[in-house]
């Protein structure tokens, strides 16, 4: 198992956010973290990304506690894509992608760095934008640029925080399609937070359903997305049927308490 979580608990002050999370994630899979607001999805993802420093021996990547990695080494193993691009001073698209080479760069940029950047930008069809500033790009383009930056780290784990939230449906599909291909072709472990359960069901190999900081259910989409589970976690009655492109879930009405 490439990434292991062995009893991760996180609390802010006295308030527990995550309680004893355990999971094992293999390479080459797309894993979706789902759950209602406040279930701890973002905290889980940020702990996995070491943005929030996890407790010792809780998060393991490639057989080693992430706490024991040097910052640079961990950055070569796993990359993170934030939900929103930063509002700082903008770089060009090329500079942004090149920034993904940061863990490998001492000071000068090598030909190898440039080749990798070029390959990724071609793959994501970003080459024609290379000299545009990132704030001049559309939302979908920007999301792809951020993914490209993460890919430039040549990671084995890719962690994404709601990569489709700001996108129209065409780009949602494009991005998720891309992520699935990456997982398949390059044996990358892709972990992402998704709100849309149907998309999660359709593109994930594995779904982790969180409720109040605990793993409520985990497994293949059809194992996790059952009317009973969704009723208990989200508090709605749903009808689930098998469509031509995966599961179709229709929310009927809220559960009356």
């Amino acid at each position: 198992m490439f990434m292991q979580i062995k009893g991760l608990s996180v609390q802010f002050g006295a308030k527990p956010i995550l309680k004893d999370i355990r999971m094992e994630l293999p390479k080459g899979e797309v894993v979706s973290i789902v759950g209602p607001n406040g279930a701890g999805k973002t905290t889980l993802l940020k702990s996995m990304a070491s943005i929030l420093s996890p407790p010792r021996k809780a998060v393991w990547t490639d057989g080693k506690d992430v706490r024991l990695y040097a910052a640079n080494e961990l950055a070569k193993k796993q990359a993170y894509v934030p939900q929103h691009s930063s509002t700082g001073f903008p770089l060009t698209v090329m500079e942004t992608v090149l920034l993904g080479r940061k863990p490998y760069i001492k000071w000068g940029v090598t030909d190898q760095d440039l080749q990798i950047v070029e390959r990724i930008m071609d793959r994501l069809q970003l080459t024609r934008l290379s000299e545009q500033f990132i704030d001049e790009c559309s939302g979908g383009e920007r999301q792809k640029v951020l993914i490209a930056r993460a890919l430039a780290q040549e990671p084995e784990v890719l962690l994404l925080d709601e990569p489709t939230s700001a996108l129209d449906i065409r780009y949602q599909l494009e991005v998720l399609e891309l992520l699935r291909q990456l997982a398949r072709e390059q044996q990358v472990l892709v972990v992402l937070i998704l709100h849309d359960l149907e998309l999660a069901a359709r593109y994930s190999d594995r779904v982790i359903l969180l409720k109040e900081g605990e793993v409520f259910a985990a497994g293949r989409p059809e194992e996790v997305f059952t009317p009973a589970h969704i009723e208990q976690v989200y508090g709605v009655h749903v009808e689930i049927e098998q469509g031509s492109c995966g599961m179709k879930m229709t929310a009927i009405r809220p559960v009356l308490v």
Binding site: S85, F89, P90, E95, K102, D111, L114, T127, S130, E131
Partner: protein, 351 residues
Amino acid sequence: MEPRIAQIYQGSVRNKLLLLGGMLLLLVISTLYAISRGAVEIPLIDLLGILFGQPADEMTAYIVYEVRLPRIVMAIVTGISLACAGAIMQALLRNPLADPFTLGVSSGAAFGAALAIVAGASVFGINLVLSGQWLIALNAFVFGCLAVLIVYGIARLKNSSTTVLLLAGVAIGQLFSAGVSSLKYFSDNEALKDLVVWLMGGFWGAKWQVLQMLLPLVLVSLAVLIKYAWDLNALGAGEEVARTLGVKVKRIRWVCLLVVTLMASTTIAFTGIIGFIGLVAPHISRMMIGTDYRFLLPCSCLAGALLLLLSDTAARMLLSPVEIPVGIITALFGAPFFIYLLVKKRRDYWA
């Protein structure tokens, strides 16, 4: 066939290097011009004679070597130091309004200097400036750092929000200014005069002795900072992303903040408060050369040096032999130029 990324990259690097080279050339030309001009007209022949060790007249040689040159070098070093400090602070806080002034370094340093002047006047008597010059500088530095620490500490209490940080900077700045004002109010005449001279800022009476200390300090600081260029770039993408790119955010923040505070407050300690450069030079540079700190940092330094050297030369020349405070000049031609760039460039960084 579209140009390949490597070509585009190399092209942009070449352009940036050309721009930096051009600015360096401009700085050299400005320096030569500044050397050749002053209240005393020195013909080119004599000037060359002096620079190559065959002075025609001893007094003229003294004027060039001990009056004009140190002053010019001081203006350049100060420009570099303030602009660099501004650029780094803006990067660390990801805020376009950050500079030594808004973070309270200037007012902290001013208060430190004022305290040394007023308290030192009683210890050292009237010869304060000779015996106490280093004391003034040291105190300016200590209080400059203190101001930053307080400001930064307040911001940490509130989750490092940059808005809080800037507001804290403004508040601390006001507090120290009030401190300076009250010292001015309560101190006696002579100490007050020192204070007024110091607060006005300028390069009058620049000495090689001071530069011997300042120059290495600024160069070493610059070397340290430029080493962190990639980390600063990563920080521009947001603190979280920077961490996942392998940047030790906390350490970078402290090291860089300490280095620029050291640099800025030591410079301020010797020149007095010179506003505007720390804010404007980095922005002008960003508009010219982009946000990559590998290029932005040298560009800011050159822009700051150029701006301040030209301002000081103008301060010397405009009403020669009467001198104008250099701060007036920096604001007079810095502000309109800055506004012009703001209006003309359609992109804005403040969104």
